[in-house]
Symmetry: C2
Subunit: 283 residues, 2 copies
């Protein structure tokens, strides 16, 4: 496994692999790897000849009051984990390598990015798409892998790839969860013991929503209100949003049918903002 | 020479060429080809094994009051001209092929696009970058060719390619001019005879500016004022801007030195908006 710091050397390495006809799988990450990431890498390894991951805490996707500086960074431990699942290349550039001082170009979706997480994190998805575009151009993967936990992000990346005719496939794999159901996230480590003990209720509220929608509940407001009752038990919790939307357009559903909805939530637990989602009748 | 209407078939065709190891040169155009375009294609032919051009009047780069509907379209005549310089593929999609109804993704530069033409054409460069990004991803050229007449556009495209780590080279070739010095442009055909007869004064004002800067004039205001005196003779002319800027950052120069400036102008002549520029001491 190679750890590569510069774009130039990475492109050279990838170019060599491509010239040999190797298929490249790619998992972009911000490090602080957990089983969710590793699951993406395992799948990438299975479906490709070479697996590259990136470990880069992207400054452009954090708001001024967000956790950019305290976001966990530990490349050694990430490298150990990545090695266990057969990753071939870790691309770990520094900020200056990715963004020169006169950096000026951004990629964004307009409609998809203004909803859900985009309302409280206004520049977030612009930062995500910009770095993902850069990474895709640097790594030139055949397939890139994303986790469903960041559902809106995955949809927006898929939209960018489709709208801009990019030459790769994007695969979104199911959320990997802790034993109690809490979605794996690098931010879970911010939680206090009491917060962590109760955070599983987020997923429980989603399961409750799914059960009730499948049982025939048509009214999104009733579902959301029931979820709020489950979530409010979590100490120091404050709901950012709970929404039931079309899984592709992310438009709010006014009436539920048996299938074809995504239930998404973002909840502050203390100073930690957690997100999760469930898809009703995923194909 | 093939005329291709769909992205799918174009990608297949280009893929075949790439698999054979052919180098691809690309000239994006909005059609209404003139000698400026043909000059780009000749250079592309000389430097590559296969030359693709696009002919697509991109709706996203026109403002609501601009000339999108009346912009000249004549694919037959364009195809005849392209054939004379050895173009291999014309990609001529329709609007629906390029922009599905739920199209939502845009590329933009922030600083570079807000200056000069960007001030009066606020969404213009966002539309340009978005379609150029799409075309680059569809054609996957080794080198793309642009004309210096659209100087700001060329700088912005170069910036996008560099900022987003795109895998191609961008070459900018000198403006091709009519005998009297008027920069070739698809919009010159909008001019009345009287307007056309006097439009060469735009270039004359640029030559005058260059001569005086090279002669040692340090004050941009004096140069600009002198240019205005030359331009005001053109009937029905109204200056949008005349600016003397750094050739890369496009920031206004407050003091001129012997070298290292770009003089750019946009002037309405009747209903037609013409642009031109000159670089002082281009390397």
């Amino acid at each position: 496994m190679k750890i590569i710091r510069t774009i130039r050397i990475l492109k050279k390495e990838i170019g060599r692999a491509k010239n040999r006809g190797l298929k490249v799988g790619f998992v972009p990450t911000m490090g602080a790897l957990h089983q969710g990431h590793l699951n993406l890498m395992r799948r990438a390894k299975k479906e490709n000849d070479l697996v590259a991951i990136s470990v880069f805490v992207n400054p452009k996707q954090f708001g001024p009051k967000e956790d950019f500086t305290r976001y966990p960074r530990d490349l050694n431990s990430d490298a150990k984990l990545a090695r266990t699942v057969g990753v071939d290349i870790i691309f770990a550039p520094n900020d200056e390598e990715m963004y020169q001082t006169d950096f000026d170009t951004f990629v964004e979706t307009l409609n998809l990015a203004n909803k859900l997480c985009g309302r409280s994190r206004s520049r977030h998805f612009r930062g995500v798409l910009t770095v993902v575009m850069k990474l895709f151009n640097i790594v030139e993967p055949d397939t890139a892998y994303f986790g469903q936990k960041d559902y809106q992000q995955a949809q927006i990346v898929k939209k960018m790839v489709s709208d801009l005719n990019m030459n790769l496939r994007v695969k979104v794999l199911p959320t990997v969860r802790e034993r109690d159901g809490l979605a794996m996230s690098s931010r879970n480590r911010y939680l206090s013991l009491a917060q962590r003990m109760n955070a599983y209720l987020l997923y429980k509220s989603l399961l409750w929503a799914k059960k009730n929608i499948l049982a025939g509940e048509k009214n999104p407001a009733k579902i959301i209100s029931g979820m709020k009752n489950v979530i409010k038990v979590i100490p120091q919790s404050r709901i950012d949003y709970i929404e039931i939307v079309d899984p592709v357009t992310l438009e709010k559903k006014s009436k539920l049918s048996h299938c074809g909805a995504a239930v998404l939530l973002a909840v502050h637990v203390g100073k930690t903002r957690l997100i999760d989602n469930i898809i009703i009748c995923e194909s």
